[in-house]
C-alpha cells in the first residue's frame, strides 16, 4: 500500500496501488480551500447561503456572485474554483434548456443533477484534462415534486439532501444544520437560520470581510429561483448578528477585563 502519492498523482487516468485516484482527491481539497456555501431544504422550498469572502475593499459590491440561476426554477450555489463553477453553470443551463426544448416542460432536478454529475465525472477519466475543482448545490421547487436539493462533487457523485454544506467550514456548518428541524420549517423561518449559520461558521480571525449571499426558491417565490429581497435579507442578517453580538456582550459583561472576543470554527477566542 502506497501512502505517498509520488508517481500516482500526476494524472486522473492513474490509480494508486491502494485504489485511489489522487487527482480527484486533490480536486476535492481545492473545494475545501474555498469559503463555505450551504443549502437547506424545508417544507416549502430551498434556501442557499454563501459566505463570499471579499479580498479587497476595491471590489464592487455584489460582483463575483457565487449563486447562479440555471433555469427559472433551479438555483446553484458553488464552492471551489469559481471559473470552473461558471463553466459548469453554463453546462447545466444548456442541459436544462435542451430538456425543455425536447420535452416541453421544466427539467426535474434529479435528472439535471444526474446529467451534470455525469459531465463532471467524464473529466475524471482522462489524463488530457483535469477534474473540475468545484462542488455545487442545486436546488429547485415545483408543484409536483416539491422542494429538491442535490449536491455534486468533483468526483461526479450526486446525492439528494435535506441540508448540505461545502467549503472550508463544512463540518461546522453541517453540525449547525443537523440541529435544525428543517422538515417543519417554512422558507421565511429558514432564511434567518441560514444567515445565522453563515455568520457562525465565518472565521473572523483568518478571513476578514465577507458578503452574505442569500437566495431561495419555493412556494414563497412561486417556484422561481431569486435572490432574497433586500429587506428580508437585512432582517435575517440582523437576526444572525444579534445571536453573535449577544454572546459577545454576555461574556464581556461577565468579565470586565476581557479585551476582545471572536468566534472561529465554533470555538470562542477570548483575549484578556
Amino acid at each position: 500500500i502506497s501512502l505517498l502519492p509520488i508517481q500516482y498523482d500526476l494524472s486522473a487516468s492513474t490509480f494508486s496501488p491502494d485504489g485511489r485516484v489522487f487527482q480527484v482527491e486533490y480536486a476535492i481539497k481545492a473545494v475545501e480551500n474555498s469559503s463555505t456555501a450551504i443549502g437547506i431544504r424545508c417544507k416549502d422550498g430551498v434556501v442557499f447561503g454563501v459566505e463570499k469572502l471579499v479580498l479587497s475593499k476595491l471590489y464592487e459590491e455584489g460582483s463575483n456572485k457565487r449563486i447562479f440561476n440555471i433555469d427559472r426554477h433551479v438555483g446553484m450555489a458553488v464552492a471551489g474554483l469559481l471559473a470552473d463553477a461558471r463553466s459548469l453553470s453554463e453546462v447545466s443551463r444548456e442541459e436544462a434548456s435542451n430538456f425543455r426544448s425536447n420535452y416541453g416542460h421544466d427539467i426535474p432536478l434529479k435528472h439535471l443533477a444526474d446529467r451534470v454529475a455525469m459531465y463532471v465525472h467524464a473529466y475524471t477519466l482522462y489524463s488530457a484534462v483535469r477534474p473540475f475543482g468545484c462542488s455545487f448545490i442545486l436546488g429547485s421547487y415545483d408543484e409536483d415534486d416539491g422542494p429538491q436539493l442535490y449536491m455534486v462533487d468533483p468526483s461526479g457523485i450526486s446525492h439528494g439532501y435535506w441540508g448540505c454544506a461545502i467549503g472550508k467550514a463544512k463540518q461546522a456548518a453541517k453540525t449547525e444544520i443537523e440541529k435544525l428541524q428543517m422538515k417543519e420549517m417554512t422558507c421565511r423561518e429558514l432564511v434567518k437560520e441560514v444567515a445565522k449559520i453563515i455568520y457562525i461558521v465565518h472565521d473572523e480571525v483568518k478571513d476578514k470581510a465577507f458578503e452574505l449571499e442569500l437566495s431561495w426558491v419555493g412556494e414563497v417565490t412561486k417556484g422561481r429561483h431569486e435572490l432574497v429581497p433586500k429587506d428580508i435579507k437585512e432582517e435575517a442578517e440582523k437576526y444572525a448578528k444579534v445571536i453573535y453580538i449577544a454572546l459577545k456582550h454576555i461574556l464581556s459583561k461577565l468579565c470586565p477585563f476581557i479585551l476582545n472576543i471572536s468566534l472561529s470554527n465554533n470555538i470562542v477566542y477570548i483575549l484578556w
Partner: protein, 228 residues
C-alpha cells in the same frame, strides 16, 4: 387514413395531357378523445382508403405510445406510423432515464416537435391522450401543421367536421366513464354515417390509473339514429 400510390405530382404541371386521379384526400378518418375524472376515453373508426378502395376495413388507429399513453392517428397512414414509432422510441428512452412514468404532455411535445419540424413533408393529424400520475387524464391535439394544445374533448379527421355540432352541444364537464364511452361511440357513429372516408367498426379504449381497457363495437351493434 390513406395509402399513397407511387407516382409524381410534378407530372401534372409538366405534362398537361396526363390526367390525375388524386389519391391524396384531406384527412380521412374520424378520431376522438374525451377527458373524464380519473382518465380518458379515446375512439376511432376503422377504415383505411386508397382512393375509393377500402384497403383495410378493420384498422386499429389507436396506437400505444407508452403503457398509459395512446395516440389516435389521422392523415397519411405511413407518416403517422413512422412518427408514432419514433415517438415511442424517444418516450421509452426518456422514461427509463427519468425512472418514472412519462407525462402525457411530454409525449404530446415530442409529437409536436416532429410534426412542426417536418410540416412540409408530413400529413398527420394526431390526438395524444393518456393518464399520468401527476396530472391525471389529459387530451392533447396536434393537428396538421404542428400546433399543440390541450383540450377536454378533441375530434379529428375528415369525419370530425360532421360532428362538431353534436360534440359542442352534448359535452358536459364532469361526465363519468360510462357517459364518456356512450358519448364517444355515438359521435363516431354519426360521423361514420355521413363521411365516406370513415366507417367499419368503432374502436374504443379507456386509459386510467388501472390500465387500458379496449373494446370494439361492431357494425350491427352501433347505436341507431333516425334515418331520414
Amino acid at each position: 387514413m390513406f395509402i399513397s400510390q407511387n407516382f409524381e405530382m410534378d407530372s401534372f404541371s409538366q405534362n398537361p395531357e396526363f390526367t390525375i386521379h388524386s389519391f391524396f384526400t384531406f384527412l380521412d378518418t374520424t378520431i376522438m378523445a374525451v377527458e373524464f375524472e380519473g382518465g380518458v376515453v379515446i375512439g376511432a373508426d376503422s377504415r383505411t382508403t386508397t382512393g375509393a378502395y377500402i384497403a383495410n376495413r378493420v384498422t386499429d388507429k389507436l396506437t400505444p405510445i407508452h403503457e398509459r399513453i395512446f395516440c389516435c392517428r389521422s392523415g397519411s397512414a405511413a407518416d403517422t406510423q413512422a412518427i408514432a414509432d419514433a415517438v415511442t422510441y424517444q418516450l421509452g428512452f426518456h422514461s427509463i432515464e427519468l425512472d418514472e412514468a412519462p407525462l402525457v404532455q411530454t409525449a404530446a411535445s415530442l409529437f409536436r416537435e416532429m410534426c412542426y419540424r417536418y410540416r412540409e413533408e408530413l400529413m398527420a393529424g394526431i390526438i395524444v391522450a393518456g393518464w399520468d400520475p401527476r396530472r391525471g387524464g389529459q387530451v392533447y391535439t396536434v393537428p396538421v401543421g404542428g400546433m399543440m394544445t390541450r383540450q377536454p374533448v378533441s375530434v379529428g379527421g375528415s369525419g370530425s367536421s360532421y360532428i362538431y355540432g353534436y360534440v359542442d352541444s352534448n359535452y358536459r364537464a364532469g361526465m363519468s366513464k360510462e357517459e364518456c364511452l356512450k358519448f364517444t361511440a355515438e359521435a363516431l357513429t354519426l360521423a361514420m354515417e355521413r363521411d365516406g372516408s370513415s366507417g367499419g367498426v368503432v374502436r374504443l379504449a379507456v386509459i386510467s390509473e388501472q390500465g387500458v381497457e379496449r373494446q370494439v363495437i361492431l357494425g350491427n351493434q352501433l347505436p341507431k339514429f333516425s334515418t331520414v
